[in-house]
């Protein structure tokens, strides 16, 4: 470890970890690294940022990968899954046991977990399903039921289909070519699965287009949805401002927030999916945006985060998070206590009052303004068809 004294017990670490195994899993690669500190601090939904190319590499930017699993062997191991689609991931795929990797983590806000035993649907696209299995374990610890809905272009690209079938209360698989499960895409089956599983909460991870559709459908069924988004990152720790996307805050203001520290998990309806790749004209600090007096520091209800650049505010720190000793606290704990989880619990209460009533109780949770359907940005170039260029979780 090259870092000085870590500031807190839950913050990220910068370590050199020894590769235990690199193996092919259908169309993907899974790499397991001995990294005890990261394994100990990990919460489902968090990621690691990996330096690629070795010493004196010409590839300067870290690659971010959702953590798939942590295990206690060798003091603590971390595993992530990736697809080779660039120089960096090719280099990673060529690693062998006992090679050393430089990684930082665990990074980002984890999935909030409900306090009560509710019915959870986990939706994954491609290897976006990788972080969902650790989440499933955590949910089952809380006596939640877990259903899986996984999809990909073809059978060899559905990551974890077997695990999902073995461990899920139900597992629905979709493939575009029909080589595994139902022919189609996950959103074709979402409505049916929600009805059959009596879903209370949806968790989703995968391509942005899928997350956008899952969010839209979840809204139709009035089910809270937590999404782990893919945005290309450079540093993974919140300093480069590369991975921003427009997200509506609890105060109703849209901000360009950093996926790496304010995400990667967001409430689906707070992400302005239509405006990803633009600066919406009404975003905080957009051209022509009118500065107005703001109360600082903001309240503790930090989902999503405070304004860009305010690292710790983003994690929902208590009001005076600027005092020494608090600012280093990582996102992990606070993420769990965030309104995302609270929102789910209120849903649970509603559910117990009967599903019909829940349907009528449409709209935002307590103290949360409705999702903003802002007009599209007009002053910025619209980036259509970005998906192919986005690195997602590592390239």
């Amino acid at each position: 470890m090259t870092a000085a004294e870590p500031e807190s017990e839950s913050g990220p670490l910068h370590v050199r970890g020894t590769v235990l195994t690199v193996r092919r899993v259908d169309a993907y690669h899974a790499i397991t690294i001995v990294a005890p500190g990261i394994a100990a601090r990990f919460k489902p939904g968090q990621f690691v940022a990996v330096a690629v190319g070795g010493p004196d590499t010409s590839m300067l930017l870290r690659r971010a990968f959702s953590i798939h699993d942590v295990r206690p062997d060798h003091g603590g191991t971390v595993e992530f899954v990736f697809a080779v689609h660039g120089r960096g991931t090719r280099w990673l795929a060529e690693r062998r046991a006992r090679d050393v990797l430089d990684l930082t983590g665990p990074l980002g806000r984890p999935f909030p977990v409900p306090r009560d035993p509710v019915s959870c649907l986990l939706v994954g696209g491609g290897y976006g399903s990788a972080p969902l299995f650790a989440l499933a374990d955590r949910l089952r610890e809380r006596r939640c039921s877990v259903d899986f809905l996984l999809g990909a272009a073809s059978g060899d690209r559905v990551f974890g289909a077997l695990t999902a079938r073995r461990t899920g209360r139900s597992a629905t698989i979709t493939t575009v070519d029909g080589s595994l499960g139902v022919r189609g895409i996950v959103t074709d089956m979402l409505g049916q699965v929600i009805h059959e599983a009596r879903t209370d909460v949806i968790y989703a991870c995968g391509p942005m287009a899928m997350l956008r559709q899952v969010t839209a459908l979840a809204r139709r069924y009035d089910i809270p949805v937590q999404v782990a988004v893919e945005e290309s990152m450079a540093c993974g720790i919140g300093v480069c401002m590369t991975c921003v996307l427009p997200v509506v805050g609890t105060d109703g203001i849209t901000r360009m927030v950093r996926t790496c520290v304010d995400g990667p998990v967001f409430r689906g309806e707070r992400v302005r999916w239509d405006d990803v790749g633009t600066i919406p004209f009404d975003a905080f600090g957009a051209p022509g945006w009118e500065p107005r007096p703001r109360r600082l520091p903001r309240s503790a209800a930090g989902d999503p985060p405070g304004e860009p650049g305010a690292g710790q505010e983003a994690t929902g720190q208590a009001t005076n998070g600027y005092a020494a000793g608090q600012a280093g606290a990582g996102p992990a704990e606070t993420g769990l206590a965030g309104p995302g989880a609270a929102g789910m619990n209120s849903r649970k209460a509603e559910r117990q009052e009967g599903r019909q009533q829940r349907r009528q109780a449409a709209g935002p949770g307590p103290g949360q303004p409705g999702p903003r359907q802002g007009p599209k940005a007009v002053s910025q170039p619209r980036q259509q068809g970005n998906q192919g260029r986005r690195q997602g979780h590592g390239a």
């Binding site: 870290r62 600066i279 600090g285 945006w289 650049g309 910025q380 986005r390």
Partner: protein, 319 residues
């Protein structure tokens, strides 16, 4: 014995010459998870503007060989939030704060300088007159001797007497020495160089520019020779003006290279994206590089390459 790394930033003494580069460390808070921010020379903040700013659309970044292009567009919360939150935090951690400021007009720069002068604890002001990701690309203040001078003059007039003002220069100019002279005549206490070079990348699959903002600033080891050249030229022309050198410093050796060219402080930028502990590591490596050469004081090697040239010249008899 460990070399004496102390250096002077204007009239302020820093314990060592390793700084963060503006825009690569936010306001230091994120880095504090990995390094002790009070142990490095200073934190140079991301450029602060008067009003909050959302920046440019994504994609904002493209990796290139030994470099990267960024097109962030100065996203930030504005001076109010900075003074209320970020500056007090830096001071509470015992860090020295060099505040980078950016504006669209001369008046904006001047007002920012005044606001910072009213706040306690600002170690120095770095005037970013060279960010390529602004509305009028290629027409940044640092590309014109008169414009650069007028910004520095205005900032200097509104900055408290004991806060040094550094002008951050762009390498994308015909004659960087002329810009440097203009800034120094306008009152700059020192110069920071270099900012990123304007660059562009095109995705050959989609056949479209990679960055939403089309062009971006190139940084990383790819540009280090440009930084060495700029620092060299300015040091040659203005040997008494302190220089904060930056541009692709990844190791202590790289930092020493900029110091030999004439920098008395070195900012670490893109390296932080690669290694969040980079500043602490580079400081340690610089210390080792000096110790290995039996150099007792950092000040002995600042600009030393110039003297070596003079020595070599006299030795060979070539004028």
């Amino acid at each position: 014995m460990a070399p004496d790394l102390r250096t002077r930033l204007g009239n302020v003494e820093l314990p060592n010459p390793i700084l963060t580069a503006s825009g690569c460390a936010s306001s230091g808070r994120e880095l504090a998870q990995f390094i002790d921010v009070s142990k490095i020379g200073a934190i140079v903040t991301k450029s602060v503007m008067l009003a909050p700013r959302a920046g440019r659309p994504t994609p904002r970044m493209a990796e290139t060989n030994s470099g990267m292009l960024n097109s962030i567009g100065l996203q930030g919360p504005g001076i109010d939030a900075f003074l209320q939150r970020d500056l007090p935090w830096l001071l509470s951690r015992g860090a020295r704060a060099v505040v980078s400021i950016a504006g669209s007009t001369v008046d904006e720069y001047a007002e920012l300088a005044a606001r910072l002068s009213d706040a306690a604890g600002v170690t120095a002001v770095e005037v970013n007159i060279s960010c390529p990701n602004v509305e009028h690309r290629g027409q940044v203040f640092a590309c014109d001797t008169a414009d650069a001078g007028s910004v520095i003059e205005a900032v200097k007039a509104r900055t408290r007497y004991d806060i040094p003002v550094f002008a951050k220069l762009s390498p994308d100019v015909t004659d960087i020495v002329a810009i440097a002279r203009s800034c120094v005549s306008a009152g700059a206490d020192g110069l920071s160089m270099i900012n990123t070079l304007l660059g562009m990348a095109i995705d050959t699959e989609s056949m479209r520019p990679v960055l939403a903002g089309l062009t971006g600033g190139l940084s990383g080891p790819a540009i280090r020779p440009v930084a060495v050249r700029c620092i060299w030229q300015v040091r040659e022309a203005l040997p008494d003006v302190p220089i904060i050198g930056m541009g692709g410093v990844m190791t202590g050796r790289d930092a020493l290279e900029l110091i030999l060219a004439g920098a008395s402080m070195v900012s670490v930028g893109t390296a932080i994206f690669h290694d969040p502990s980079a500043c602490a590591r580079i400081l340690r490596e610089l210390d080792e590089e000096l110790a290995r050469r039996n150099i007792a004081r950092l000040s002995e090697v600042v600009g030393l390459a110039h003297e070596m040239r003079a020595t070599a010249r006299s030795r060979t008899g070539i004028p």
